[in-house]
């Protein structure tokens, strides 16, 4: 979908509502990085590391072992500490210890609880540029409950303009069953797959499936079969009757 993956040093936003696989995708991004020789740091504000270790283990990722090997770190903290600008930075020790090439912040939405809405964009910009200056690729998780409804906006505070790439995850109801959709909304400086693809969370992580080619309106929350598919169904029905 990304025609070779995210670009080095880019800031990527993964947006979606609760339970749609943002954390799994973020962890997979770091674990794959370790496999490529790129250590990673996972910054969490709410979920405790022991839960993350457990959930990752269910997907076959032994994060404790990666930590022992100095290839991975989980930092669990409060958002206001990450934003502290005076003196030593919260991440300095991890940056020194494992020299990460990738970092995940789960989630950027939590920063909104500690800074005024008018300052959120500036603070997020400062964080992104701090990491970019150090040559670290970042994946920023954004909780966007509005994506479950009919309207579609990634963030309401203009953060989409700060990042180089946006991946949106969305649960969709199709024919009375809940499925998961993923789409790359933006990718600076590179071509990418524009189609909305189905994905599944398998025992080994996220697996991208085929595109929702037979449906339209999936992203707006009102999926319906495209006209050609409806006709095909009619023909198939007629052919069955003749038999």
């Amino acid at each position: 979908m990304l025609h070779g993956g995210f670009m080095e040093g880019d800031a990527v936003m993964v947006a979606g509502s609760a339970g749609c696989g943002k954390t799994t995708l973020a962890l997979q991004y770091l674990v794959n990085g370790v496999k490529l020789g790129e250590p990673g740091v996972y910054v969490t504000f709410e979920e405790m590391p022991d839960q993350i270790y457990r959930d990752a283990k269910n997907l076959g990722w032994d994060l404790r072992k990666l930590e022992e090997e100095n290839k991975f770190r989980i930092v669990c903290t409060s958002p206001n500490l990450l934003l502290e600008s005076e003196g030593e930075s919260l991440l300095d020790e991890s940056l020194r210890d494992i020299q990460p090439r990738r970092i995940v912040v789960d989630s950027l939405s939590h920063l909104a609880m500690f800074v005024k809405e008018s300052e959120l964009r500036r603070e997020a910009y400062r964080l992104i540029m701090h990491l970019k200056t150090k040559g670290i690729s970042s994946l920023l998780v954004w909780e966007s409950p509005q994506m479950t409804g009919g309207s579609f906006a990634v963030t309401e505070v203009g953060l989409s303009f700060l990042v180089d790439c946006i991946v949106a995850l969305k649960p969709v109801e199709i024919e009375s069953s809940m499925r998961k959709a993923l789409v790359v909304l933006k990718m600076r400086g590179s071509d990418h797959d524009k189609r909305l693809r189905e994905f599944e969370i398998t025992p080994t992580g996220i697996k991208i499936e085929s595109a929702f080619t037979n449906y339209e309106g999936v992203i707006t929350g009102s999926p319906r079969r495209v006209a050609s598919e409806k006709f095909m169904d009619l023909f198939r029905g007629a052919a069955e009757k003749r038999k």
Binding site: P49, D50, E67, C76, T77, L81, S85, S89, L90
Partner: protein, 98 residues
Amino acid sequence: MLETLLASEVTGDLLVLFHRNPGLIDTLDSVARRIGRTGNSIEEDVRGLVNLGILKTRRIGRSEVLLLDRARDREVLDAIAKHLKNLEGVEKIDNTKF
């Protein structure tokens, strides 16, 4: 050292919290919240763990944060394991006596 570690429930809760979550770096109040307590109620226990070297303090901007000394945590675990092994040994000797 073991006496301090086993002295109170709060100290036990803090040890378990930091041992299970070695990447936790937070202020006293936030750490307290993560074990369902208030900053004031854990202050003394935190001081005890800092004095033992299990927890470290660091200044991040205007805030003082607490974090685990991973090396010291391993030492403490080894000491506890050794102590338990010794107790087991004593128990075995006692069992043979009776």
